[in-house]
Symmetry: C2
Subunit: 434 residues, 2 copies
């Protein structure tokens, strides 16, 4: 690496264009902080003709992104095309074997292939960095990899998907139901035409798997994440939660249970009831926030914009500045061979409270049937049974349980399965514990 950090940009969507704007606008400041200027030595994307709102004429366009992997005048390739496999992954491998440092915002690829890529980077003595893959502009990868590095972390969790948080916040404010708010968000460009990656929790799960590996020093285990999204949340649930002193947030939660020898990894993306005294209850709109709990640091919170061209570009260029400074240690905080391979936790043993909501027929005996099933499974009701009416005229019965094992709640639901009294699958929302 010489007096300039020469980068190639692959992918010129909103984030790619943001990186160009950032490198241009803050050029002088970046050079002072990085110790050398960052120069965009080459660019490429699918469609050369598309107007991206930035002037591409100063930059050398190549048609074949693979060229960057071997060109002598490139130090770092920045990948912003996305997709877990396919061209992004091929490019990553080519770059790391071609002697190029690699920076990516591609959470799906890191979640699925991060260890393989990290190992290739280690062997080649190259940087592999992905700050922009998790929580946009928030430097939480750095926060865990370095800031909290002295700690044994017991939990890492947070609001990892801006679209879901935007929708839940809007439901909270307007009282509208999920479908209405989603349609509006799509019309205004805050949600994708196919929103399933966001609202079914896949995007949050990608990010959670990365945070967990970093926090706990364990191997990535995306497939081990228990996942559900926010489609089933009704405005009535949000109102009930508010009456009980909670807000509903889609939380990615990872926990390392047990001690060294037989540690187990728990990972879940699920709506949670968050008590109002918890900082995550006050995270509104498309903001993201991550909490990490260390055995010496206590609870750390990192919060900011979780997406968007500016914040994501900020994270990409932070990685580039690190590389320019020569700060290029292991991508997952320790060499891949030292990461622990741990078994998945059994969720049934987990102790907690939860919110249960049933859509039931409006006739006598239904409540008795539900509460009997709860009694038989050993689930005790904390305090509250509220009734409301669902959009289709069913009666809504909502309650909060006392602390107890999740297996008991599962047993209740399984006993009630197929009952003609229930008009829909019950909703289970866990309550975030301290």
């Amino acid at each position: 690496m010489g007096e300039t950090l020469n980068i190639a940009l692959v992918g010129l969507g909103t984030v790619g264009a943001g990186v160009i704007r950032l490198v241009e606008e803050n050029a002088e400041l970046i050079a002072r902080r990085a110790g050398k200027p960052i120069r965009i030595a080459g660019i490429t994307a699918r469609d050369r003709a598309k107007d991206r709102g930035v002037d591409l004429s100063p930059y050398e366009w190549v048609d074949d992104m693979g060229e960057f992997a071997t060109r002598e005048d490139i130090d770092v390739v920045v990948e912003l095309i996305g997709g877990a496999d396919g061209p992004a992954l091929t490019l990553a491998k080519e770059c790391l074997s071609g002697g190029k440092a690699f920076v990516t915002a591609n959470k799906a690829m890191v979640a699925h292939h991060g260890l393989d890529l990290a190992q290739r980077a280690e062997q080649a003595g190259l940087a592999f960095k992905y700050e922009a893959a998790v929580a946009g502009g928030i430097p939480v990868i750095k926060g865990l990899r370095e800031g909290a590095a002295a700690n044994r972390l017991s939990r890492v969790y947070g609001i990892l998907n801006g679209t879901c948080n935007f929708i839940l916040s809007a439901m909270e404010k307007t009282g509208q139901d999920f479908a209405e708010v989603l349609a509006e968000a799509q019309a205004r460009g805050f949600a994708e035409a196919d929103p399933s990656f966001d609202i079914d929790g896949v995007d949050a799960a990608h990010k959670l798997s990365i945070l967990a590996a970093l926090a706990f020093g364990t191997e990535l285990d995306f497939d081990g994440i228990e996942r559900s999204g926010i489609r089933k949340i009704l405005s009535a649930d949000i109102a009930q939660a508010a009456a009980l002193g909670y807000r509903i947030r889609l939380i990615g939660m990872a926990e390392l249970d047990g001690s060294n020898g037989d540690a187990r990894l728990f990972q879940r993306v699920h709506p949670y009831l968050v008590p109002m005294h918890h900082p995550l209850a006050h995270v509104e709109g498309s903001t993201n926030a991550v909490v990490a709990e260390g055995n010496f640091s206590g609870r750390l919170l990192f919060q900011g914009a979780g997406a968007g061209d500016g914040p994501t570009a900020s994270a990409v260029v932070a990685d580039l500045i690190d590389i320019a400074r020569g700060e290029i240690g292991p991508a997952f905080s320790m060499p891949v061979r030292e990461l622990d391979k741990v078994a998945r936790a059994e969720t049934g043993h987990r102790i907690g409270k939860c919110y249960l909501r049933f859509e039931v027929a409006d006739r006598p005996g239904v409540l008795a049937e539900i509460t009997a099933a709860m009694r038989d499974a050993g689930v005790s009701i904390e305090s509250l049974i509220q009734k409301g009416r669902s959009p289709d005229g069913s009666v809504l019965v909502a309650m909060v349980t006392h602390e107890g094992p999740e297996s008991a709640v599962a047993a209740t639901l399984s006993a009630l399965k197929g009952s003609p009294s229930l008009h829909a699958d019950p909703l289970v929302v866990h309550i975030l514990g301290d």
Copy 2:
């Protein structure tokens, strides 16, 4: 540096003991993350005999801390004795000229001598690190130095003193006045016997000056901080603020006004009214939080425990892990010679709202006198005049102004100065703007 990072600990108060516990308890994890073990190769403190709750017998005690500056078996000296000048500063200089990296939690020393020390470290090619000096366990130095490094930052501000926030939160909850809560906090060990460093804002100012230099790439200017503390806040002020939708927090606020050529640095430690929708309004107890606003990242928030042995030790050891990893760039994010020397901002031009509270005599005409002074100075009242009674029986008149220049508020107070209608100096609390 060899296969082990050998450190010397100078100062064995609660933080020093915390570092020993942390290095012992998390030894295996630290070695995996740092790439090598951290070994405590020497310790010293004023009193060898004192019981610190940790077993010191495994460690070599020296009587003269200066020894560490030249001993061949030491890589890093960790200074935890405190004080801006005196032994800590002497030690720092000796270590950096003796070839030892230097890690400190000493905010006063960094605020006053940070540039000198950073320059010595640069010349010697050594690390000079101080994560623990600001906001305890929160990795905010790293967050600004590296995480937000791609951004031009316009503002950095936050809750930087846990004692003040603890007192203000307690006043909020109990309705007690400042003196009562302080006495309780002292009795319970949450406030020093001589609390003036905390409650008069000196401690927060030390931290603010460091954050500002890092965020803006400007020279440290501790003396340029306009500072007041929380002694004058009455429980009535907190109640009025709450009625208006605000909480009162002691905020350290730094802003770089204007563009490159004629930039000016604004730094203030002062109580602020924080609107309830702002995350800082929800920071309770002794928690700290720092907000940084970047031109690409948007608003970033870092929150956590601002003091205590565990969190502070976590920050100290994070610095040590960085050093073990070879990540030892410029202490203020860029070489000291590249930091801008900027003039201080004139606060009179600043535009904002504020809360004004007068303790006045209970007789006709007083309100007319105050409002006339405001009218004459061009200060307009937004909406609200509340009355209450102060502890000594005076009447309290509180109001919130419309947005306007601070000079107009100053002119009002100066016109009223010496008026027999006022029983005490009026209280001015700025309102945190978006």
